[in-house]
Amino acid sequence: MNVIDVRGDICPVPLLKCVREIKKMKKGEMLTVISDHPPAKRSIPIEMTEQGHKFKIYENGPEFKIEIVVN
């Protein structure tokens, strides 16, 4: 399973790392992004929707996890 932990990093690092990781992955694989930067909770889903990937957001206080299934 692919996990990127970008806790402590602020925009645009979480989104850029997420996009870079997804480029290396194949269809159907899952990427988990762990972040604590609130704007990334918006920017990552917007970009993933645009690229056509499916995702789910799990919130845990100020931290959150986004599970992305590459399409």
Binding site: R7, G8, D9, V13, K17, P38, P62
Partner: protein, 156 residues
């Protein structure tokens, strides 16, 4: 975290900028206040250096409201984060990030003084006044941000 739309946020900022203009008689800026704040601190260490500094001879660091406004932004953001339950001490895991931020911050401060204003002073305050210098600054800031976006992908 609850989000407000870009449009709503933009309108709120515009209205607050008008309020600043009406009450203080000068448009909103950030980095002038920051340089004044540095001058206050430096006054305790070497007041002769501050008084002999050509920049501070021209822009006398006495208008305290700019400094108060700068601290108000930080305080407001802090309260907003607390209210939105988003507050957390965040430390980058990649230690190079500290050096990166330090160098970037120095460039920002240097550029803001060189250009007589940062993105707030020029884009939020200068452009609405149709200042030519601010339009030039806007184009240069956008160009700089584009170059920066090409460099950052190699640094993360």
């Amino acid at each position: 975290m609850r989000n407000i739309s870009h449009l709503k946020g933009g309108v709120i900022i515009a209205l607050l900028n008008i309020l600043i203009f009406i009450t203080l008689g000068k448009p909103w800026s950030i980095t002038s206040g920051e340089s004044h704040f540095v001058a206050y601190i430096e006054n305790f260490i070497s007041s002769t250096h501050v008084s002999s500094n050509l920049y501070f001879q021209e822009y006398i660091p006495k208008t305290t409201w700019r400094v108060i406004l700068d601290f108000g932004i930080v305080a407001g953001a802090f309260l907003g984060a607390i209210a939105g339950k988003d507050f957390k001490i965040r430390i980058p895991q990649n230690k190079w990030r500290f050096l990166q931020v330090l160098i970037g911050g120095l460039f920002m401060g240097f550029g803001a003084r060189l250009a007589y204003g940062c993105n707030i002073g020029h884009i939020m305050s200068g452009v609405p006044q149709l200042a030519i210098s601010s339009f030039i600054a806007l184009i240069a800031i956008a160009g700089g941000a584009y170059v920066g976006s090409k460099i950052i992908v190699r640094l993360i």
